[in-house]
Structure formats: structure tokens, C-alpha cells
Symmetry: C2
Subunit: 385 residues, 2 copies
């Protein structure tokens, strides 16, 4: 199997990008990436893997050709990859395999979502399509409601405090305050985070990610060929993926995301590394409880200790494993299909020493991208070469 590296990564500004088409957001991300590799031309790119939920439905089917057309790549193989919020994590997986197999030398993987230009009521419907329609949505369950169930159960089983959930929000807003691309570039206090209006108990407005327009795009390359384009490629040393039952009621436990546990084990095994080797991580904090579950599912702490881990400051910039230094889905924003490769964007910058919230001399990083309430997950481990 050939070794695969990332030679460039781009991301649009996240937020309410009113008046912009989703193709234009993708162009922003693509051009940032292309600007990092002087001697790479568009014609060198052989295939595109596009993550998107097609949120809002403006081009509900068959949107991948429009995306590659927007960056003048029409002709090359391209398809949409969709696993709800975990879409571009899987798009990246297929991109890696395409190079590892020898079919391609250079490809792009990315994602795009335009979420702000539909009514608030319709947005609620659209977020719902990431969960189980038949047994959850049609019974009146909302998407925040699902994660609220996971949170209350975690509180009951492990004594996790609301303060722990709120501390995730405080940390991620702090990181986002220094990220010029983040949707919310402002800090919040623990008191604000604790006392905001409830969405679905125990989750309040500060426990929930926002509705975000945005795109991301990374350029992947066979690691030998990568030398032609950059002195500092970032190698993908491990990547794993898994699935779980879509509806919560079918799962063995709702305080664990089995898809994430499986994806993590697969990625660590391939990389021949342990959770303790990770120096910086981007995890899928669509809700604050999801970040706490991620700590446990990846193996950064033992089961049930996720709340303690955030309260002890272990995931802040000076902690043992800084998490979501870009601001996370919570504060940087969550353009559904773009999130997986937007996480890669942050780790790529960290491992090249170019991050706004730089982790000193970080050489190994991890991303964790979840679909829906945990029905799918990809975990990717990256390393400075």
C-alpha cells in the first residue's frame, strides 16, 4: 500500500454567508489550498470526493459535478459521499484509498454545505434527516433531543455535571476567538454557558453547534510524489471507520458511540500508535456532550472520565491533549458535509506549526468525525513527516 500525504488544505470563512452559492464557498476553500503549492496545476488533480448532505435541497441530487465545475476540474471522476455530519470524513477515506491503491497520485477531498438560506423551521427538519426518521423523527424526537438523552444518561451513569458540558463550550469559544474563520469569534464565561436558554435539557443554546455555511478542501498526494510540491507534507498514518445502529433505542449503550470506538481502534492499529501519543485533536462536538463522549471513545481517558477530563483542563491549550483548537463545531461552526475535512484543515495547520492556537511542536494529531448521532464515524491520524 502506498503512503499518502496531505500537501495543502483550505477552508472558507464559516458563518452566515448570505448571498454566496455553495459553489462559491467551495472555490474559497479550493483556492486557499492551491495557493499553498506553487507548482501544482489544476490539471494535475485526478479525482474529487465531495462530502455533502445537500442541506436545504437546492441541488438535492447530483451536486458533485457542480462542485468540480466550480473549480474548473470538470471531466475528472467525482461523486458525492453522504453520511450526514460524517460525510467528508468518509470522502477523505475514499480519497486516501484511491491513492493507496495506485489508481490516483493526486486528488482532492472536501465538503460543502449552505445551511443559512432557509427558514428556521425548515432547518430543524433538515437537521432531523441526520437521525432515524421512522422511529425517532416521526415520534417527535429532535436532533438536540437525541444528544440530550445521551447527556442525561451520562450524568446518571457517571455523575457528569452540567459544568463539564458548559466547560467544553467555554474552551471552544476561547479557541474560536482567535480563529478569523470561525462563526463565533468571541469568548464566553462559564456563567454565561451555564445559564443560557434551554434547547433540550440539559443542553442549552451554548451546548449546541450553530447553523453554518462553509466549505473545506484538502489536496492529497502519494507521499513520494508529494516532495515535488512541498517540503512539509503531513502523512496520514492511520485511518479507521465504523457504523452503528441509526436509532438510539437499538444501541447497546447510549453513553458510548460504538462507531467511534471501532474507527479509533482501526486507526490506532494501522498507525501503530496509542491514544497517549496524540498531541492535538479535532473531535466532533456537535453538542458539548459529544466532545466528552469523544474523549472516552477515542481512549484519551477511561470510560466515564470525560467530564473530569474537561474540568481538569486536560484539553485546553496547556493541557495533556488540546482538543478543538480551531473552535470545534461548537464555535467555529458546523457546515455538515464540510466538517470532516475542516477538522483535517486544523490538524494540518497544527502539524505545520501555523495555527492561531498552536500546540508547541505538535507532530501527531487526530480527527474524529461523526455522522448523525453516531451511526457512522471516521478517525484519521496525521503525522509530520
Amino acid at each position: 500500500m502506498r503512503r499518502v500525504g496531505i500537501i495543502a488544505a483550505g477552508e472558507s470563512k464559516f458563518g452566515a454567508r448570505v448571498g454566496m452559492e455553495y459553489e462559491e464557498l467551495f472555490v474559497e476553500a479550493f483556492l486557499e489550498a492551491m495557493g499553498q503549492v506553487d507548482n501544482l496545476e489544476s490539471k494535475d488533480i485526478q479525482e474529487a470526493f465531495v462530502g455533502s448532505l445537500a442541506f436545504g435541497g437546492s441541488q438535492l441530487g447530483n451536486m458533485s459535478a457542480l462542485v468540480v465545475d466550480s473549480v474548473n476540474l470538470i471531466g475528472i471522476p467525482a461523486s458525492r459521499v453522504e453520511n450526514a455530519c460524517g460525510s467528508s470524513g468518509y470522502a477523505l477515506r475514499y480519497a486516501i484509498m484511491s491513492i493507496a491503491s495506485g489508481i490516483n497520485d493526486i486528488v482532492i477531498a472536501g465538503g460543502v454545505e449552505k445551511m443559512q438560506d432557509i427558514s428556521k423551521a425548515t432547518r430543524l427538519y433538515w437537521f432531523g434527516v441526520a437521525g432515524d426518521i421512522k422511529w425517532e423523527r416521526l415520534s417527535g424526537m429532535t436532533f438536540p433531543g437525541n444528544y440530550a438523552l445521551m447527556a442525561t444518561r451520562h450524568m446518571k451513569e457517571f455523575g457528569t455535571k452540567k459544568e463539564a458540558l458548559s466547560s467544553v463550550a467555554v474552551k471552544n469559544h476561547d479557541f474560536a476567538s482567535r480563529n478569523p474563520k470561525a462563526q463565533f469569534q468571541r469568548k464566553i464565561t462559564l456563567e454565561q454557558a451555564m445559564n443560557a436558554p434551554i434547547v433540550a435539557y440539559p443542553l442549552n443554546i451554548y451546548d449546541c453547534c450553530p447553523i453554518t455555511d462553509g466549505a473545506s478542501c484538502v489536496i492529497l498526494c502519494d507521499l513520494e510524489i508529494a516532495k515535488k510540491y512541498t517540503d512539509t507534507p503531513i502523512e496520514i498514518v492511520g485511518f479507521g471507520a465504523g457504523t452503528d445502529h441509526l436509532a438510539l433505542y437499538q444501541r447497546e449503550s447510549i453513553t458510548r458511540i460504538d462507531a467511534a470506538v471501532k474507527a479509533s481502534k482501526m486507526a490506532f492499529k494501522m498507525a501503530n500508535l496509542q491514544p497517549k501519543d496524540i498531541e492535538v485533536a479535532e473531535v466532533h462536538d456537535c453538542f458539548t456532550i459529544a466532545e466528552i463522549l469523544a474523549y472516552e471513545d477515542i481512549g484519551f481517558c477511561k470510560k466515564g472520565d470525560g467530564g473530569k477530563m474537561i474540568l481538569d483542563g486536560e484539553t485546553t491549550i496547556h493541557g495533556r491533549i488540546p482538543v478543538n483548537t480551531g473552535g470545534g463545531l461548537k464555535a467555529k461552526g458546523h457546515p455538515i458535509g464540510a466538517t470532516g475535512t475542516a477538522q483535517i484543515y486544523e490538524i494540518f495547520k497544527q502539524l505545520r506549526g501555523e495555527h492561531e492556537n498552536q500546540v508547541h511542536d505538535a507532530t501527531i494529531g487526530l480527527t474524529h468525525n461523526v455522522g448523525g448521532t453516531g451511526s457512522a464515524c471516521t478517525v484519521t491520524i496525521l503525522r509530520r513527516v
Copy 2:
């Protein structure tokens, strides 16, 4: 790059499967495939690639977990791959690459669509999402209307007769009459085909594929390991893919599908074969004109001679290259996301000598799966080992 083979292929009955969930249709296809390999167990399958447009929207996002759950494979990596009518052709592409890379040894690729259980007006909307929404659909263009434009232009440029279009329908209905899984198991006469009610001139009701419920599933395996499961694996010796502008007005020509031309060249180059080497083919005849374009785009005849090719009987069972021996999208049916791997199902049976419309001693076959009106295409070449 490791060699990849298909060891089993299954398909549900196509048609109006009222009262069946899409998961149940997938189970039908999966069980047929599993029944062909006695010593393969579900736990040996490592990943799933699911093509679907999620037609009708019953589970619009995040449906791949439901599909793998239905066949008791929950836990393994799985994602939806969507390129409209070309979805499972691309799902197959990613499945092949996953084995070629060495990441997986055994995987499934398939597709499923449930199209009959929504109103006729809503179906029209849904077919529309396979074309360009902004510049075509919102101007009132229908999906048959797009192909009608391609047909009239072909008539003008090359003198193609309505009789040629109708002859495609007659041939494919004839093949379908002996296929117990086909939606339309009956022959039609040329007179019937010529004089049916118009949908969009020059296309009448017999020039258009039906609305179909159905699923398909193939099991792929590293070719060395395949020996463990079957004496007659079918090797994938070439596979290509391409894209083109989504809206017709942007294309250099509307009597050629560039994505198909590119995909074909890529597949033939990899297989080190020529169009004349193909002994049986399944091509994407969503409309009769599309089959004629396919002859030309693949290279079975020269540009403009597609009409002549069907009129001369070159693609009937006794012709030079029998095409759509399963009945094609036209008469077997077109469950959008399932079609790409349903084509593979037919060629797999042909190359094993097990087809209802067997081409004598066929050893090399081809499939051609188009997304939308040609914005995406995959071409796959298979060979008896």
C-alpha cells in the same frame, strides 16, 4: 495494485414493490449474493458502499447505516455514494479501490431505491433532482425533456430516425420478457413502440424507463483470496469514470456524453482492450436515445452511427455486441441508485454462462452507468478468469 474480482451478485425483483421497505429490497439482493458462496460468512465482509439517491426522501440523509443494519453488518465502515442515476457505479468504483489498495479483502457494493410509493407528481420532482436545478428545472425543463433535446439534435446532425429509438425499446422489452426479475416481462412490437403517447417529442412512453423499486448487491474480493470462495470469479480488468457539466447548455455537444467517452477510454486503457473485444454490454438506457449515444461514446460504432447499429440488429442476441440482455433500464427497470450494480449483476451472470439471454461463451463484458443527463459516468470491464 491488487487484482479485484466479483464472487457473487444479487438483485431484488424489480417493479412496484408496494409494502416493502427499501431495507427489505436490499436484503433480497444481499441474500441472493450470499447464497452463491457457501463458505462466506457475514463477518468476513469488511466494508459496504451504498448507492442511492434517497428518492422520495423517506430517509433522505444518513441511510447507509440502515442498509448495513438490514443485512446484519452493523459496525463495518459504510457510506452512501450519490451521483443520481450513476450512484452505484461510483459505489462500485470505491469498493474496487478499497480492495486494490489492500485496505480490505472482501466488501459489498450495491444500491437501493424505493420509487413507487410517492405520488406521480412528486416522482416528477424527484427525477428532476438528477438534472440541473438552477438553469434547467427552474425554467420548467423536465428530465425526459433533456433527453428529448439530445434526441432531436442527434436526428438533425446524423439523420437518426424515430424507428431507431423505437427499435431499442423493442429489443430491450424482448430481452426483459425472459427475465423473471424485470419490471416489464412482455414483448412489444415496433408498431406499438412507434405509436405510443408522446412524453417529450420525439420520446414517447416506450422511449422512457419506468419508475422502479429495486436493489442490487455484489460481493467483491481480492482475486487471490477469491479462490477460497468460488471457482468462477469474474475479474474487474478495467474501470473508468468521468464527469461533465451538469446543465446541457454548457456542454460542447449534446449528442455526446463526454463523461462516458472519458470513462470508456480510461477503462479500456487499464484493461488493455478495445471496444471490439467486448462480447456483451449493459448500457444506461434511461431513454432509448441514451442507448444510441452509449454505442457511440463507448466506441462500439463511430459517431453518428448509433441509429444504424440498432437498425442493423448488431446489438440483439445474435448481433456483434448484444446490449442490455437483462432488459435494460427501459424494460428491466431503473431503481436509480441500484442500477449501476444491477448492470454488473447481468454481466456477472453472462460471464458465468448463467443468463436467461445467454451470449454464447461470452468471456468479456462491459457496463456503462450514467448520472443525470451525463454529468457523471462509470464504465467497468469484466472478464472471466
